[in-house]
Symmetry: C2
Subunit: 322 residues, 2 copies
């Protein structure tokens, strides 16, 4: 049976998954990533270990990579990745050679969007926005039911839209970027600044907020309000039917989405004169990027197989030539 | 010969134009608009006077209206217009009845975008953003060569994206909207606040800046910088091939676009790793909205005529039935 693997590489971790044709995660492997100040080699070693752990002795039919960075329009190169060491590097071909397998590459948020279209919360909506909250913000634009990648393949980089003039410095080199105020990192920074807990994590903050901790609740109120303001800006620009929020932080659900819905409605121009899009939690949770990458690999290479079969059948005269 | 009229209604004036099939403005009529605190009737009287002045004794084949506000997905109603008194009103049908002529209705920036696609600066680009700077900011999204209107027909409302938290109050009810910092109004406010000239106009500021007046130059530097920051945000979201800046303020050309290009490049994430889109002046000047509205009217009703002729020919057997 064919084995399709999706690998999601974010700012802090690698998640590899074997994924079924119905989008079910069959098994996973994880590695931490060594950050952006290292050689690209170390990142690729971590990816390779995770893929090998999933594949074991089997040969994957194809592997999809969801990368937290700019991927060019051809799906060949990671042009720039704020949280990773890749700079204009031909990652797809290099890893395909190293792994001796077909590899496809796209931005992590675009992959997550494909998973949400195929198996998740986008449903029948033709125009949707996907906002993925992890270390930073990933984004994807769904138009007419498909991911809109843009002229350079770089559409959906919502996290670096400036929301605060003279605001916080961002790893990307910009100032006041949305993801400085609305992300897992922003949540953690908020709590650390307010209770001195230097090693608190996102999931711990979610747990504390559920238990009524006021510092944790204030952190979610702030990050949620920023989510609503930024989503409002995007709704004004795109006018989507639905907004899907995914990524690790979306596990907090209404702790995050409640304040976001209030802030969006307050900020959105003409809210009383339009259909205000619902802000919903992603259907797939934090594995969406890997699932979407595997889906992309399956679609690409299953299609190739299907086309080859159709050509062979046509040559044998067993199917009508078109 | 057929007469197609486009009418552009903005926050301060009505411009009606007879427009040729090649986009040439044959003649124009202007009226001032009485503001948003009046009955809708007064706005519609101003529109009617301008249309009647253009038509004279002739009967227009069709009239297109470009309105500075939200127009629903069906092109029937103005849902909300920050600078005009219309609120959820069926403007298209009411004016078609009053004028006894076919009428089409769309947002002014969408109309300007159609003019730029058909006759102007969009050229061969498939993905473009149009930013129209007048009283406020109008915007349009061009995807695959056509205007993307969104789920509610309200895509492209860039002017009300929040760029300053706790910033200036906007007529729309929002806070810190982009058009408070980047528009004809913002330019005038900037100069009035700095030299006490209470009655200075946008064109006078442009003239003063060209003559080296430091207050006027500072006003353009500020508005231009805000233009660049906002465009950068939009480029991060859409990844277009080109950005076209139109509207009355675009007459200032490099006084405005120079600072905008610098600020966009500085603010745009990964600018060294992508094709940074050019920011160009619109091809049509401040008449683009009216020209695009006339183009829309011509396309809609010429097509209907063509279809009707095709049906008649098919019924007579002079053309193949399909």
């Amino acid at each position: 049976m064919a084995l399709f693997i999706g690998v999601d590489i974010g700012g802090t971790k690698v998640l590899a998954a074997a994924v079924s044709s119905t989008g079910r995660v069959l098994r996973t492997a994880r590695r931490s990533t060594p950050g952006r100040q290292v050689e690209a080699q170390l990142i690729e070693d971590a990816l390779t270990e995770a893929v090998e752990e999933i594949a074991g002795v089997r040969r994957p039919s194809a592997i999809g990579i969801a990368a937290a960075g700019f991927v060019d329009a051809q799906g060949e190169r990671v042009r720039f990745a704020p949280h990773l060491p890749w700079r204009d590097e031909g990652v797809r071909a290099r890893l395909a050679e190293r792994w001796s397998a077909p590899v496809v590459l796209d931005n992590d948020a675009n992959c997550a969007a494909r998973a949400e279209i195929a198996y998740g919360a986008v449903g029948d909506a033709q125009h949707a926005l996907i906002v993925t909250l992890g270390t930073g913000i990933g984004g994807a634009v769904v138009l007419d039911g498909a991911v809109h990648r843009g002229y350079n393949g770089m559409a959906g980089e919502f996290g670096h839209m400036q929301v605060v003039p003279n605001g916080q410095a961002c790893e990307c080199g910009g100032i006041g970027c949305w993801e400085r105020y609305c992300s897992g990192n922003a949540l953690v920074r908020h709590v650390r600044a307010n209770n001195g807990a230097d090693d608190v994590t996102g999931p711990e903050i979610t747990e504390a907020a559920r238990a009524g901790d006021p510092v944790a609740l204030a952190a979610f109120a702030s990050v949620g309000e920023w989510l609503g303001i930024g989503v409002s800006n995007l709704v004004e620009a795109f006018d989507p039917e639905i907004v899907v929020v995914g990524g690790g932080l979306s596990a907090a659900d209404d702790l995050l989405l409640g304040p976001a819905r209030v802030a969006m409605r307050e900020s959105l121009v003409g809210a009383d004169h339009r259909v205000v899009p619902p802000i919903v939690r992603a259907g797939l949770g934090p594995e969406a990027g890997a699932v979407g990458a595997a889906y992309l690999a399956r679609e690409r290479f299953r299609s190739a197989g299907t086309r080859a079969r159709a050509r062979r059948q046509a040559a044998r005269g067993t199917a009508p030539r078109r």
